[in-house]
Amino acid sequence: MSEAATAGEPALRPSRWPERVTLRDGSEVEIRPVRADDKQLLRDGFERLSAESRYRRFLVPMPKLSARLVRYLTEVDHHDHEALGALAADGGEPVGIARYVRTDAGSDAAEVAVAVVDDWHGRGVATALLTRLAERAREEGIVRFTATCQAGNEEALDLVGDLGATRMTGTDPLLVEAQIELPAASERSLSELLRAAAARRLVFRPRWPAEPR
């Protein structure tokens, strides 16, 4: 059955996914890569995003999700474009999604985007998704995430700040463009630090691989 593994194949090993994660309030999610047949799940999750959450994600209003967008967001190749979804462990409803898309063919940088349904805001879903997405990105040869968010989006700015982001110069004063270096496995683990940050055991703004306070 298995032919020579192509890039992205290791991501799909059944033993690794779904990963069950306990969030800081005790609720549980299951995280796994998004599949092409997740279209209805994607639509269901989108319906549970408020207008404001959609605006934060796309930087424009998004009253509807076209079939074309649904295809783009689910038919990912797990190499240049990876997406991880979080489902409520109890009930299976979609609660969050994070993706990276390589900025150019062959680039070692990718743009990252996250969306969490409003009912699950503030529990650490985005952090849980981004931790694992960063590991996947490193596996696919990506060393840097870029993120674009609205200047007033405090949650997003805190999140990228906790990931050690530096602010890039941008031409639009209403947007913040951040760059996040992804540490190699040999350095202090990003996931370790993020879990600690999510549990509020650490407060830090280091440049990698500095020690946290």
Partner: protein, 122 residues
């Protein structure tokens, strides 16, 4: 501006509607047609489903104009769209208008289509 953008994008025919009017006397909109729905619109109007031709076709402009008028009716006069242009294609990643994760860069849209916007103020 984002409220009327929401109203415009509720239309099945419209994929993107970027409204501008900063420091201008009225608001204008740059509109892209939903590529999957455009053939149905073309069939409804009895024209060829050619995106470039549809952008300037009078029947298409009338159909989109009706959507704009319906959206305008829900807003105060100073929030209404006075003029609009239909782009002959989708917003592109290549041009930087869309990021790889599909975020819309308004500033890039404005700069890229500056001529189109200026034309709406003549």
């Amino acid at each position: 501006p984002s409220n009327i953008e929401t109203a415009l994008k509720e239309s099945r025919w419209i994929a993107e509607a970027v409204v501008f009017g900063d420091k201008r006397p009225y608001l204008v909109a740059l509109i892209t047609l939903d590529p999957d729905e455009a053939p149905a619109l073309a069939a409804k109007l009895g024209i060829a489903p050619d995106r470039a031709a549809m952008a300037t076709d009078e029947a298409v402009r009338a159909a989109i104009g009706a959507v704009v008028e319906e959206a305008n009716a829900r807003f105060a006069r100073i929030e209404q769209i006075k003029r609009f242009a239909i782009l002959p294609h989708d917003l592109t990643q290549a041009g930087g208008e869309l990021t790889p994760t599909l975020k819309v860069k308004r500033r890039v849209v404005y700069d890229t289509y500056a001529d189109v916007f200026d034309g709406l103020y003549e």
